[in-house]
Amino acid sequence: MVGPLIPMGIIPETWNNVIALLLGVGFGFSLEASGFSSSRKIMGTFFGYDFVVLRVFFTAAITAMTGIFYFDYMGWMDMSMLYINPYYIMSAIIGGIIMGFGFALGGFCPGTSFTGVAIGKIDAMFFSGGLFIGVFIFSELYPLFQGIYNSQNLGDAKIYDLLGMRSTVFAFLLIVAAVGMFYGAALVEKKVKKVDY
């Protein structure tokens, strides 16, 4: 059972959709149960009254990363077979900034807005509708953005390669940074006035 299972051909592709559904249920459940269906809870991270996003996000990232590293070390998984999003420097940064802007206005990100839709948040429904419109607008105006979209492709670059350090060192630093952030978040939370929502 050496993962990733589907690319290795251990699980047939026909199971794809069932697996997608099950993983989606897990994804949605953990998001909603942590409170990601509430935009004001999410936005608390930026104003310092509730760091749930920071906690969930970084805990999830370091948990998955630790799991991948250990499974790779134990030979249960081949890390090199995992899909890496291509890194286009400019479009990643521009996209991130636009998304941050949308985040500040809408208070959701796509995944969390869907959980909001699931429990009946009307603002989440508007946000999700906006997503479709946004993608549509982008696609229609694609010729305008094409240059930026396709420039400076670094392929499946890894952050540790760009920083010139070993992957294990970067992973360790990320874990330490995450723990440090959790500690800092707890300190800030104590000082900032509670917001009732």
Partner: protein, 175 residues
């Protein structure tokens, strides 16, 4: 704790939520070799919707045709099913903790209307941004961070950096 569990104010410990989400993410990588995603599903549904309504237009547009050319691509289907799962999962959790209720959540300082317009604009911006960055917070940033991809970490920093900045500009919307 058991008493107020169903009144909608119960949330699990964020670290537990993070660990669970991390396990789901890890499981996704372990099984499919790819990360989670959400905006990809939006993209593939928009692409197929446009393709159904105006097939010629879709074929002529370079962006649509990029995803139409390999219409058998399992990933686009995969993400749609995953997002259906997200909604189901959110619904389950909402039922379990008593949060199923139509409502508009906003700061007391703004009206419902303002909140909905802001949400819509935010959604549009997020939609555009996620296409630029080839993924959203879950697809690019979270999944990317788990495998230490450069795009994931850069996108994550760009999202949170600019969200932090803009959220103070639009502080009124929230607190």
């Amino acid at each position: 704790m058991a008493k107020n569990k169903r009144d909608g104010s119960f949330y699990i410990n964020p670290y537990l939520g993070g660990v669970l989400l991390g396990l789901v993410l890890f499981g996704t990588y372990y099984i499919t070799g790819r990360g989670l995603g959400a905006s990809g599903a939006v993209k593939s549904s928009v692409v197929s919707a446009v393709h159904t309504v105006a097939p010629v237009h879709a074929d002529n547009n370079k962006y649509y045709s990029k995803f139409l050319s390999d219409d058998a691509s399992p990933m686009s289907n995969w993400l749609v099913f995953e997002v259906i799962g997200v909604i189901v999962g959110g619904f389950l959790s909402g039922t379990l903790y008593g949060r199923l209720k139509f409502k508009i959540e906003h700061s007391p300082k703004i009206t419902n209307r303002t909140r909905l317009v802001a949400a819509l604009v935010g959604g549009i911006l997020f939609g555009v941004g996620s296409q630029f960055a080839r993924g959203c917070t879950s697809g690019a940033a979270l999944s990317g961070m788990a495998v230490l991809s450069a795009s994931g970490i850069v996108t994550m920093m760009a999202i949170f950096g600019s969200a932090y900045l803009f959220s103070w500009i639009f502080k009124k919307l929230w607190i």
